[in-house]
């Protein structure tokens, strides 16, 4: 029990630490008037800090694994929010869904074909 609590506390502290990078990124994005959102600037900063050994992997590993592993959960409120839009329903809604499904298939297929052509190094299963 104590171990579980300890692990949970570690994850929470690390998430707050990672959140700090988001805040710095958001601040930089606003201060420098760049179109790139704070989360992506924060990601680049964290990556650079890891690469330059300014922060240790162990300081963020557990928190990052949790955040990336439970990503779908964070999309749930937005998905529920779809009910606010009447446009999604009816004939236009069906058209929109068809466009999105076809578009997504075409985008994924073309990306995959090009990637498969040039990719190297990883094990072919």
């Amino acid at each position: 029990m104590l171990k579980v609590l300890q692990k949970a506390l570690q994850i929470i502290v690390q998430i707050i630490f990672i959140w700090g990078f988001l805040l710095i990124g958001t601040w930089l994005s606003a201060a420098l008037h760049i179109q790139i959102p704070g989360s992506i600037i924060g990601l680049l900063l964290l990556f650079i800090c890891l690469k330059a050994h300014i922060i240790k992997l162990a300081w963020v590993d557990a928190g990052a694994s949790f955040l990336t592993g439970e990503l779908l959960l964070f999309f749930v409120p937005a998905a529920v929010g779809v009910i606010q839009y009447d446009e999604i329903f009816g004939i236009i809604g069906i058209k929109l869904i068809v466009v999105i499904v076809l578009g997504t298939v075409v985008v994924m297929a073309s990306t995959g074909v090009v990637a498969e052509r040039f990719a190297k190094g990883d094990v072919a299963k």
């Binding site: 989360s39 990052a64 929109l96 999105i100 985008v107 994924m108 297929a109 990306t111 990637a115 040039f118």
Partner: protein, 230 residues
Amino acid sequence: MMIAASLVGTILIFYASKWVYAHYQKIWLSPLLICPLILVVVLLATHTSYAQYNSGADLLSKLLGPATVAFAVPMYKNYDLLKKNALAIFASLLIGCAVAIISSLVFALLAGLNNEMVNSLVPRSITTPIAMDISNLIGGEPTMTAVFVIVTGLTGSIVGPLVIRIFRFRRAASKGLLLGMGAHGCGTSKAFEFGELEGTFSSLAMIVAALVSIVLSETFFPYLSKILLS
């Protein structure tokens, strides 16, 4: 009270959906489909407005920010492999982004959607904050784009594995890149189900695709839309 109920309720229903998905392994049982559906039914049955629900559940949406930052960790761990595949990454994402713009324009015009809807559809495959910015830039409606982004994510996490199976993509790079390109964070989450390498490629795809899309929406998109919409 409402705040705690919507937050705890969402988390409980999500993990229940996840358990069901892990148990039956059916694509249409994706937690991203089932969990929101159950929540919508609960909201309708209890006459709860979305605003009330979101007062608590919003904390989960806020975690998307640090979650995006957290993708620096798998990228750091797999840096060498990413570097080796730089060409595959850039070539496939450049094509992916261009196809996303072209397909949105062409399919939406064929379906007879109005210009504002077309423009709101164009940035749908990238991550929400950037998609909304681009939508604003090219004459779409950002809030509508936010809805299209989530619908695309849902769609992508379901059709992505089918595309991989039909085209027999074998490499972790291809699987990850197409999932991150086509369905942003939702695709990336699916990619992590395939494996850590797929997930890493997917997280990078999500970020690079967003950056490439910003550039294309200011250069390539105006030309294309002038030709097609006039």
